[in-house]
Each structure stands twice: as C-alpha cells, then as structure tokens.
Amino acid sequence: MRVEMFTFLLTAAICLAGSAGVVLLRNPVHNALSLVATLFGVAVLFIQQGAYFLAAIQVIVYAGAIVILFLFVIMLLGVDRAEGFDRDPILGQRPAAIAVAVAILGLSLTALLSVGSRVTGQASTLAAIDGSEPNINALAKVLFTDYVFAFEITSVLLTVAVVGAVVLSRKAGPAIDLGEFPEGTTADLLEARHAAKTQRHEAEGDDSQGDDLEGDDPDDGDAEDETTQEALR
C-alpha cells in the first residue's frame, strides 16, 4: 500500500507539472514535451489500475504518434518561437478563463469529496474484470462482441480522417492529364525511357552516368513534394 501511494503521488506530481508546463511555457516545443510527461504519467496510472493494454496504447499512440505529429507540424511551420502573453484581444478574457477554471475545479472537487470515498453505481454483471483472465483478452472480448459496431465505425472514422488530411494538405494543382499516360505498364514506360536515355548518352559520348536515376521526371502532380518544399522555404 505504501509503495502504491508513493507511486501515485510521484506520478501525480509529474502529471500536474507536465500539464502546467503545457499551459504556462511559451515555446510550443516545450509545450509538446511537457505533454509527453503528462501522457507517460497517465500511462503509469493506467498500469496501476490494471489497464495494461491501454497503458501500452497510451505510450505508443499518444506519446509515439500524436506528439510526434505535433512536433512535426511545429517544426514544419516554423512556429517554434515564443508566443507573447501581453496582448489580450478580448477584454477580460484571461480573468474570465481563470474564473471558469476555478468554477470547474470547485464543482468537481465538491462533487468528489462530498460523498466520501465510495463509488456509487452497480458493479458489472456482463463484463466483469476477472482476475484470472489477462486484461487484453477481456478487453478484446468486449470490444469484438458488445462494441463490434462501434469498432467497425471506428475504421470508417479513421478512413475519413486520412482522406480529410490528404485533401486538406494537398495544394490544388491542375487536373491530371490522362493523355499524358501512354498505354502499357509503368515498368514498360520506365524501360523505354531508360533505353532512350542510354541511347542518347551513347550518341553524345557523355560520361556522367550518375544522374541517370533521378533526372527527367515529368512534373505530373507531385503536389506533396511541392508543398513540403514551400513550407520549408
């Protein structure tokens, strides 16, 4: 019990310090790294409560993917300069925000601490956590039986998100000219192109064979590259 309490207090301190860092630090990169601290703390608390699978997902998906995505965007856009706290465009926005936050905290703490230490509600009868069964098995069982429709809809959601991200981030270019693509497979096309190039080189007696591989690409809708380069500029 003593070890659990010590772990909890240490992790809670890390979580609170990390979330305070997200709000208070001025450099977005520091904000993202503070967020990682909080996410790891929450993962430790998940482990402490027996949610092992969720702890792993928390570290892999949140700290490994989402925060890295944040860092990519921060560095791609070059917004990693400090943000000034001085300007307040809406009059009294900050005092109002603090008042709202104090209200939220006060209400939830009152609700939590007034009832003592017992959790109301009924214990589960359908999906009880069985100590003999591993956490991931129990979670998979409930995910693929009771929540299978939600699980399937999740895949639709992710597809929509991917399509949305591609649509949002691509620059509107000219439509693809179908006449640009001759008949035959790509391998045939590349082979013909390569044969033509070597023929030309032999005719010219050119000795610079090194740039055969990447030169002479037709500019057919390479929007991703262009936008990346523009953003980097």
């Binding site: 997200v22 904000n31 943000e83 936050a101 939590l112 009880a128 956590i129 979670l139 949002l168």
Partner: protein, 102 residues
C-alpha cells in the same frame, strides 16, 4: 497514512482537466490549444479507467479505446486544417482566423 482509493485518481483527473480547460481558454497558438484538448481527453480517460476498476467493468476501458481513436483522428484533421491555414498566413494566432474566409 491515508489509503489510496478512487477519489485520489478522480481528484487528479479533475485537476488535469481544469488545467487543460484553462490553457484552452487562455492560449492563442492553435497548436497549444490542441495540446490542451489532449490534456482534457486524457483526464477523462483516467476517470473512465478509474471507474472501470471501481465498478469492476471492462467496458470503461473499451470506451477509453474509442476515445483514443477519436483523439487520433481529431488530431490528424485538426493539424491538417492548421497547416492549411498557416500556409496562407504567417501567424500562429487563433484570434486572426476569426473571419470565415481566407
């Protein structure tokens, strides 16, 4: 020594949620506002897992799984929107995009 029970976890989650909402209301950089939303989602996830253990019900953890999926999708689309906006204008300020036109 005080015993470690669910109330500790719930109070911690309430604190993280409050800090996240405070940051969402005060910060102006849209990226940092997104991070504060992630903080709030994590606080709610912690609450779900705590009640899942207290009520001995694995369904709470299933809900956390779905929340994580939605958070990932939300971040992808949101960051796409932010990149699209910032390519057009060079300011990292949410107040400058209050007009609904480019």
């Amino acid at each position: 020594m005080l015993a470690l029970n669910e109330t500790w976890y719930l109070v911690l989650a309430a604190m993280i949620f409050t800090i996240g909402s405070l940051g969402l209301l005060t910060r102006k950089n849209p990226l940092v506002m997104f991070m504060c939303v992630e903080l709030m989602l994590n606080a709610v996830n912690l609450t779900f897992v705590t009640f899942s253990k207290a009520l001995d019900d694995i369904a709470g953890q299933a809900i956390v799984f779905f929340v994580m999926v939605v958070a990932a999708a939300e971040v992808v689309v949101g960051l796409g929107i932010i990149v699209a906006i910032m390519r057009r204008r060079q300011s990292a300020n949410a107040d400058d995009v209050s007009l609904m036109r480019g």
